[in-house]
């Protein structure tokens, strides 16, 4: 089924690494929202509804949306909150515009690093009886997934290494001086220091608008939502085949069907995937029908997914370059929107007309989403 009203992205702000300590979290969120509104050339008075996404454990609060309602402009406004994933805020915001009951939505997510141990905060999300005691954090879960992939796919490590090198090269162009993971040796075997990056504080905001609002305001730079899909894996890692990504495949099917995409490998001018590790990026190639796994090694070696290649993937440098943990998924969507809108900055790809964003989160990417954005509204 299609959306009743087509949403488009008319404003974005990505603040992938915020080092300043002279602004509180509330002020940081306020700054981000104001930049997104300015990018959309509208004011908060034009916003009909707001969806925020944050993680209580990272924020150190029981209901994160409470503190944020003021900074995002939620007072006397329709505001909802989803803590499951940052990308879910985009999805809910898009659904609300698609009903025709809202003309605009502000979507905001943030991820601070003030928690004493990100790993401990993540461990709280593990089943308390079986998994928490292992101990299991997100990097451990990603490592288990990498091991599972290596077990069934020869040359996976070489392909993963090539992916990491590609994304770091992209990152050097997109952002100056990205931080490198300081640890030496495998962080969690087989994840090497070059295959991930240290958590940083970041935030992201997007403005979505209905087609009639876009027409009325004469908005020119719009990334139209052509299709979106999202799905979840079961919670227990033991119930999953970690070498596969069936939820992402399901999400991609939803998104491609809505967008009318028959051949994903040739449909997009650029793709952003959540490369929590390069193994996650490889798995996404397959689940998104960009490249079957037997071709991983060849395609990563020949630069098919590098700048100038067949389908550039993660021109932003991806999560390997900047890792504001909780909001990396929404940042992928915002990156694609910025590319379509011609506002991606140093890493802008020429003539981007169609893009795909993959957002994944949770232990070994439990939550998976696929978002198709395009320069043209739907036919």
């Amino acid at each position: 089924m299609g959306m009743r009203v087509q949403p488009g992205v008319i404003g974005c702000t990505i603040r992938p690494a915020i080092a300043s300590r002279d602004r509180s979290l509330e002020e940081m969120i306020y700054d981000t929202v104001q930049l997104a509104l300015a990018d959309a050339a509208i004011s908060i008075d034009d916003i009909d509804g707001i969806v925020v996404a944050a993680n209580d454990q990272f924020d150190g609060r029981s209901i994160s949306v409470m503190m944020a309602s003021g900074p995002v402009g939620g007072v006397d406004r329709d505001i909802m909150s989803t803590p499951s994933a940052s990308e879910h805020a985009f999805i809910l915001g898009a659904l609300r515009v698609a009903t025709g009951q809202f003309r605009t939505q502000l979507v905001v997510s943030w991820s601070p690093t003030e928690v004493s141990s990100m790993s401990e905060a993540q461990r709280l999300g593990a089943d308390p009886y079986f998994h928490r005691a292992l101990p299991l954090d997100e990097l451990s879960a990603h490592a288990l997934q990498a091991s599972a992939i290596e077990h069934v796919q020869p040359n996976a490590r070489a392909a993963a290494t090539a992916v990491a090198e590609k994304n770091r090269a992209h990152g050097r162009l997109a952002w100056p001086d990205p931080p490198l993971q300081p640890a030496a040796g495998p962080l969690r075997w087989p994840i090497m220091p070059t295959m991930t990056s240290a958590p940083v504080t970041g935030s992201v905001a997007m403005v979505l608008a209905a087609s009639d609002f876009v027409a009325e305001r004469g908005v020119r730079d719009v990334a139209w939502l052509r299709g979106m899909g999202w799905a979840t894996e079961p919670s227990f890692l033991g119930d999953r085949d970690l070498a596969t990504a069936p939820a992402l495949a399901a999400a991609a099917r939803q998104a491609y069907e809505a967008a009318g995409i028959a051949d994903a490998a040739t449909a997009f001018d650029l793709v952003e995937v959540t490369d929590a590790t390069p193994y996650a990026e490889l798995l996404a190639y397959e689940a998104l029908s960009l490249c079957p796994r037997p071709e991983w090694a060849a395609r990563t070696a020949d630069g098919s997914f590098a700048r100038g290649g067949r389908v550039p993937v993660n021109l932003s440098g991806g999560v390997l370059t900047w890792n504001p943990v909780f909001c990396t998924g929404l940042i992928r969507i915002a990156e694609v929107a910025n590319q379509i809108r011609g506002r991606a900055g140093a890493h802008q790809v020429a003539n981007a007309r169609s893009g795909l964003a993959h957002a994944g989160s949770g232990f070994a990417m439990q939550y998976q989403s696929a978002i198709v954005l395009a320069k043209e509204a739907r036919p």
């Binding site: 089924m1 299609g2 959306m3 009743r4 509804g49 993680n55 209580d56 454990q57 150190g60 609060r61 029981s62 209901i63 949306v65 409470m66 503190m67 309602s69 003021g70 939620g74 007072v75 006397d76 406004r77 329709d78 505001i79 909802m80 909150s81 989803t82 803590p83 499951s84 994933a85 879910h88 999805i91 809910l92 898009a94 659904l95 609300r96 698609a98 009903t99 009951q101 905060a121 709280l124 999300g125 593990a126 089943d127 308390p128 899909g229 999202w230 799905a231 979840t232 894996e233 079961p234 919670s235 069936p246 939820a247 399901a250 999400a251 939803q254 809505a258 949770g362 439990q366 939550y367």
Partner: protein, 393 residues
Amino acid sequence: MSSDRVGIIGIGQSEFRSHRDDASYPELVREGVVRAMQDAGLDFDAIQAVVYSLSPDAMVGIGNAERLGVDAVGARNKPFLRINNGGATGISAVAAAYYHVASGMFDVVLTAGADKIGECGDSQTVLNKIWDPSYERPLPLGTINMLAMSAVRYMDRYGMTQEDMARVTVKNRRHAALNPKAHLRRIVTIDDVLESRIISWPIKLLDCCPQSSGGAAMVLASEQFIRDNHLDAVWITGVGHSAETYWMGDRMGNNPTAEHADAYALGRSFEKSYRMAGITDPERQVHVAELYAPFSNTEFHSIDAARLVAHRGESVARLRDGEFEIGGRIPVNPSGGTLCTNAIAVTAMARVAEVALQVWGRAGDHQVNGARLGIASGNGGDHQIFGTMVIEA
């Protein structure tokens, strides 16, 4: 008749008690889900997406505890996301499910959740963590003293007495005695309430909701699906949310943005829901109300905000007259309400579910005769984020 309406086709509520040692957290979620699916007469293949209803993780003691509920709600490889609007979560989750269907993308969506508040130790310790860590947590603030401050201001402005607060408890306990799902069902007297120990003046023990454990679920569907499959349904005709400032100090003192005695944003949310449903005179058009009121005093400003009375504060006199009893002019919380059952993750969902059962004519012993249009509300945060709905037969 519009073909764009969204209907409720299945409702399930578990048994609510202080402890549910017989069910793990996912099993408790499953209990409500199975009942809702049986009520809808569908199997899980029909469910196209799931909205998970869970408020603070800390109540369950697991971060992102919705992940553990994925299989309990049958969401594997399906669209799934969670809502957390604090105490409003349940009605916000129904609203999110509504938006799924109303967007045109889905025909059938399940929303479900559960909470084990009775097993979290002390919910007030968890709820203290909703406040600013530097200024407000050390006071210490909890949701009880937060709303005790509202009660004091309401007394000052509108003449509410401790006896009036007790009357709310007496009414709702009498209603809950008719509702087999309710947690606190023992009938009490005004003297029982007045003689119960003070928790945070003027709120006494029997002015407080319990800490409940239980689950709930609802199945929503498009009008086209309901017609094509010849299903019975009631309809969500109004949906709204609105929020107040996080800072309670800005709701008190001189020229507050929203007075803490009242429920300003709840009123704004009802305005939106009423406008959407075409309700211009709620005093005459609303037949039944389930209003989220975890402490007896908050039922008054909720009735005011829903405009079931002509002006703010009139709810006190009208309640004395018995207008909000089953059999009265507009029964409020005929299920016993939040005051008798509060499993926070699904409490506001239960408000929607109970109103739906009322306008469906399926509420059992606490049925309000002739109810065809009802309203529901949920409150979250520090009396800050409000969701409302209008449900019609």
